[in-house]
């Protein structure tokens, strides 16, 4: 499959009162055409900031993309002038967020909000845009589309608003849909509906999805390819089946073991000891070392690089390095 997006060495930093935080630290990965890539990790691992960096939504002076390359369909998103980027954003790359309520304008009718990108990007006139908006509302499975188009966000439920967000996102037939925790705020029965819908649109429209989530269940259901992040770094990546059946990095193993699974009750859950390190106090080391049961002396002093292992998976872990570094 062809690469749609190629991210190389992406680094995003934030300047806080206490110091500089590298929220995303030399992250590289690819998204192929028609593929769903999931970024999974816990809060603060940099998964959302990665998405924001791709969309050019990291705002100075608080933070900035400090380095790296984002190649999208042959064009470098980072070096692009704002106007060209605007033409791509919402058009070829669309994004949906965790909180649909706060992503929509509360004083603008639903229909108008769907019409906006259609008129800006596809140059439809008002009448055509309105017709297309109503089609889109029907497509995301909402009844009475005419009435919904004339209502305001506060009149709809969370699940319906997320559907509207999806309608806006797919309105211009994007090549890439970035979904940042799209179902985290929703109930499980609604989550199942939304995930089904995303899968359908992907299958019919051939778009790629970059799905950001903390829920390994959602990853298993949606992903073709999985990227595991920890403290701003990619610690492991691989095909979804390989990664779940044969995780390499101790963090991935721990995450998979600590998730309670319906129908598979254990006397005691495995839990990863300790907690995520403070991003201000990171030393050159494996950032997971103080929580890792297989920690080696080298893990405390040097950072492992992401390396391809047998089977095509990649992991950044000293356990898989050549024997000499262990001494």
């Amino acid at each position: 499959m062809k690469h749609l997006m190629n991210i190389e060495g992406l680094s995003t930093v934030f300047y806080t009162e206490e110091g500089k935080v590298a929220a995303v630290d030399h992250v590289s990965f690819q998204v192929r055409e028609g593929e769903t890539v999931c970024i999974v990790g816990e809060s603060g691992c940099g998964k959302s900031v990665t998405a924001m960096s791709i969309m050019g939504l990291v705002e100075a002076p608080g933070g900035k993309v400090a380095g790296g390359k984002i190649d999208f369909a042959g064009e470098d998103l980072l070096g692009m002038d704002p106007n060209t980027l605007r033409a791509i954003r919402g058009n070829e790359i669309a994004m949906i967020f965790q909180e649909p309520m706060s992503s929509l304008n509360p004083v603008m009718k639903i229909g108008e909000q769907i019409m906006e990108p259609l008129m800006v990007h596809l140059k439809l006139n008002k009448k055509q845009a309105r017709l297309r908006a109503i089609e889109l509302i029907t497509q995301v499975g909402i009844a009475r589309p005419d009435q919904i188009a004339d209502s305001y966000p506060h009149e709809l439920s969370g699940g319906m608003l997320q559907r509207i967000m999806i309608a806006i996102a797919i309105s211009c037939n994007p090549k890439l849909l970035i979904a940042d925790e799209p179902t985290t705020a929703l109930d499980v029965t609604i989550q199942a509906q939304i995930l089904d819908m995303l899968r359908e649109f992907k299958a019919s429209g051939g778009m790629s999805i970059l799905l950001i989530t903390h829920d390994l269940g959602v990853v298993a259901e949606m992903a073709d390819y999985v990227i595991v992040m920890y403290s701003g770094k990619v610690v492991e990546e691989g095909g979804v089946v390989e990664l779940f059946n044969n995780p390499k990095h101790p963090y991935t193993k721990g995450l998979l073991k600590s998730k309670p699974v319906v129908g598979q009750r254990l006397e005691e859950l495995y839990s990863i000891p300790g907690q995520v390190p403070n991003p201000l106090e990171l030393e050159p080391s494996c950032y997971f070392h103080d929580r890792c049961e297989q920690c080696l002396p080298v893990c405390r002093s040097r950072q492992p690089q992401l390396k391809e292992l047998d089977g095509g998976q990649k992991a950044a872990c000293w356990l898989y390095e050549e024997a000499e570094v262990h001494v």
């Binding site: 699940g159 499980v188 989550q191 199942a192 390994l216 269940g217 998730k259 495995y270």
Partner: protein
Amino acid sequence: MSEALLEVNHLKKYFPVTEGLLNRTVGQVKAVDDISLTLQPGETFGLVGESGSGKSTVGRTILRLTEKTAGEVKFKGQDIHSLSSVELRLLRPQMQLIFQDPYSALNPRVRVGDAIGEALLDHGLCSRHEVRELVLESLDACGLSAYHIDRFPHEFSGGQRQRIGIARALILNPDLIIADEPVSALDVSIQAQIINLFSKLQRSKGMAYLFISHDLSVVEHLCSRIGVMYLGSMVETASRDELFHSPLHPYTKALLSAVPVPIPRLKRERIVLKGDIPSPANPPSGCKFHTRCPFAVEVCKAQTPVFRDAGGGHFVACHLV
């Protein structure tokens, strides 16, 4: 069977809907509509349901943090809702509540040690000299260190704050802890730590939990009996194994099948429910679930199903069972 620790009979909690300048009551939201459950000492009862199902209101009404509309709540044989405020206060240390959001449950200007010890002093359960010792004990039981005692809430992570919330409930040696979504705001690796802490504490101290959660996998892990709520009513109550292996109510089945399982390419039958949970201010007639139920028949629209024993203590409210 020993005497039940907590007995809830036909509990109802309606909130008035008011309108206009004069705040006339124009309707009612039946947040809790005829809920019954019993909890034995040392047992864990799980209450699951989607947002708006009324599960949190059940917890709050049991503790009389809001007044009931009808029904009865008996704790160790005493009707909580008919006690005077003095009597209720004497009973409070025995029933504690743990909240979902440990960030907003702690006063940011109160040192953690004081926040944990406050209740002991307020209830006159120990003297000022003893309190520090007991706080340290409670911190230790919850996996926190002695040096945490003089810190402020903002110095802690989410998981640690939830440990503080648990320590604060634990220090009173309660017989009943109502935990309202205590792990929902936490990351997976931290969630596992807190779940294990809950089971460890129960093994050592023997208190009963009423565990309120929307996450079936967490509830399965901790609870011996589980009740499923939908729009203020209990639709199914059963032991854990019964509920997870042979669920009877279509809503329970749909909920179970909607939980994503971390096994890729897993083929399973999924019941996808249509639409949203209806507004509790205007619930559907008959069986409240009939608007979303894939198996609904005529009788479901007209008649409310009776919540009855389908055999072996497996209760269900459905016309089709």
